[in-house]
Symmetry: C2
């Protein structure tokens, strides 16, 4: 008997989580064993509230256009199921004869999916559960990388390049530029700004990741050293940067705000460092903080990311039909010259709690930049080179006058 | 006798000021009366320092690619000429037989250009001076709009749309989103975020411009009213927002920093309002501050802007050859259904100091959004519609269970 499939989106939106839903729906339509294709509004909350929509009623073009639509078209949530909620989840799934449940999200969502799978098994309710990896943070275990990351990396590489050119052009003002990127616990996003650097003196010149404690003295030395050499410094920092005591480096009291998973709302390190540079080094500084724009930028998607997000969505459906359950899709990078990833599977419980930090071999010895190995890892994920810009040769005219003392 | 042309870039970089230089160089190459085509490095500072480059030595492809390269390829500056500097400027121009001087910049730069023109005339030095309008702030007088504005408007429309979708998707957290845009004295940039709104409930819901004093009580009412209706609020604010006493609304002490023209470095209103919303309305909020990324975004140029910047560059050269001097190029919008701008001329001294605020008819009565007239004005400048996104119909499934109290 065909049964119904339910798909939901969870956690922070990304540029390509809708592409995964497109993959899920497209594949589900091909499967004879799937009858209804449902979406839950606002993730697991939509299940609790029984707010489900019929995705077969959508225009085919709308479904297809999800590949180019950022954010979460079904709505997302940050909600940690309480013990008493699980019973309700099972009731709603049963009331709508859901036999296949696909949940796209990060590690918290994989935990939720795993618990639902376990409960179904305990209650002898026939349910296949598949997790679809999604997080700009790129910190899920096992998978080579996470859908969503390639696009945020492309955005930040572009933004860091443009912002660096801005600082380079007008070096007589704002000579230190801080770019604050997202990244709750890991520095993957911040690290991607290194792709902006095409020539030795290009920005960013310094990159600080939360994988290394922030030491103010080293920071001052780093900044002054670049400043002396170039007269300008572009610094990319992660919002999740912590000092040696493990405290967030931030100007903001709001870092104490927490969501229902206990995660702190971050942001403020850029502002903090601008003040530090101004007060200690007496160099004028400013900061850019693209904030949530970076994670959902529809104008800067990586086409590799869009395609991989689509494929893990498709595979989530085909694998459940093959009988797999309680697993998350992964991306497995094949060895070889040309970049290629295949999809794989991993038990949900193996990814539900752990986090993959940027490994040591991707961070330089001075803890202020990434290594060539990281660039090799990240480059294929952003979906092609950045657009080529002109660089003038600037052939200097011979001087005909004595130097002017005042300028 | 053919004489030499000198072009320089000044003030904050934009996405298309290089396109103007491309127009200048391309047109100068066609003119028999121009021999050397020189660029000054870092604007008027490069003149003082006699740091000039030979633009005929650049590869033709590099010159052409300037049309797609943001920031300022010759370098820019923020430097106000002192009385004693003018003599030096004339000496350098004379030493290199510069007969044509093209200066791209905002109103401060037009002031500089005008003073150079006056001094040349006084000294009987044959010099034609032309100003090329350039400012993301869009606040130059007389011209319909300024090259640079269409691209920053496109960036902000895209960013506000994406960021609004982000807030809409995850309305169970971060229910108030503040987007802080640039704009020192005028709200043109902030106003452009209104283009993000395609349907009545889309963000941004509120837009605050520096043309109206910020009144906290009205702000609270506005925010609560939208919040009650939609459960989320996206607010775009200008970094130059001021209160009724004329003081900047900002959390930052750095607003007291000033450049050599006496302009304050702004930024901080987003942070300030987040705290205000959290403390007074008890609603969680966060802010995005794309900062300098917005003004030089190479990935989001308006092609109309690129083309117009190119054309004012070209016209600056052809008009000097026709004998015009001490003037700035303008864009003159033709009446009619189809958008079209021609180039015009205005005396430099008429644009050197004034600023064009967003006019009353472009701001709504409640001072919290723009009018349809503004949208009509700005829409053609961003170079075509924003990419189309999918909107799901969300046909809701009939409920089969009683409501769940806890969610």
């Amino acid at each position: 008997m065909p049964r119904n499939l339910l798909v939901a989106q969870s956690g922070g939106p990304t540029a390509v989580i809708n592409s995964s839903v497109c993959g899920v729906v497209t594949e589900a339509m091909r499967q004879q064993r799937i009858s209804g294709i449902y979406g839950a509004i606002n993730g697991i909350l939509g299940v609790l509230r029984e707010e489900l929509v019929d995705l077969r009623e959508e225009a085919p073009l709308s479904i297809w256009k999800l590949r180019g639509t950022p954010s979460a078209a079904l709505g997302s949530c940050r909600y940690k199921l309480r013990q008493e909620d699980f019973k309700r989840v099972m009731e709603v799934l049963a009331a709508h004869d859901v036999g296949y449940f696909v949940y796209a999200g990060g590690n918290d969502s994989m935990d939720t999916a795993h618990k639902v799978a376990m409960l179904a098994s305990e209650k002898k309710y026939d349910l296949k559960v598949m997790g679809v990896p999604k997080t700009v943070d790129n910190d899920l275990l096992v998978t080579d990388h996470c859908p969503g990351y390639g696009s945020v990396a492309r955005f930040n590489a572009m933004a860091a390049r443009d912002s660096s050119l801005d600082t380079e052009a007008i070096y007589t003002a704002d000579t230190v530029k801080i770019i604050e990127t997202m990244g709750r616990d890991t520095g993957w996003i911040t690290a991607s700004t290194a792709l902006a650097r095409e020539n030795a003196d290009d920005g960013p010149h310094l990159i600080y990741l939360p994988e290394r404690p922030f030491v103010a003295e080293n920071f001052f030395e780093d900044v002054q050293s670049v400043y002396k050499r170039l007269g300008r410094v572009v610094i990319c920092v992660c919002e999740g940067l912590r000092d040696e005591a493990g405290e967030f480096v931030t100007a903001s009291k709001r870092a104490l705000d927490t969501d229902s998973f206990g995660h702190k709302q971050l942001g403020g390190v850029g502002d903090y460092l601008v003040n530090l540079v101004a007060s200690k080094l007496k160099i004028k500084a400013r900061y850019d903080k693209p904030g949530t724009i970076q994670r959902v930028s529809g104008f800067c998607m990586s086409q590799v990311d869009v395609e991989e997000a689509y494929r893990v969505g498709q595979a989530a459906v085909s694998k459940t039909i093959e009988g797999e359950s309680d697993k998350m899709l992964t991306l497995v990078r094949r060895d070889g010259k040309e970049y290629h990833c295949e999809t794989g599977l991993v038990d949900l419980e193996k990814v539900a709690f752990g986090r993959k930090p940027v490994p040591d071999e991707f961070i330089n010895r001075q803890s202020n930049f990434v290594t060539p190995e990281f660039l090799e890892y990240v480059r294929p994920l952003i979906g092609g080179s950045l657009p080529e810009y002109a660089r003038l040769r600037r052939k200097v005219l011979e001087k005909r006058l004595p130097a002017y003392a005042q300028a």
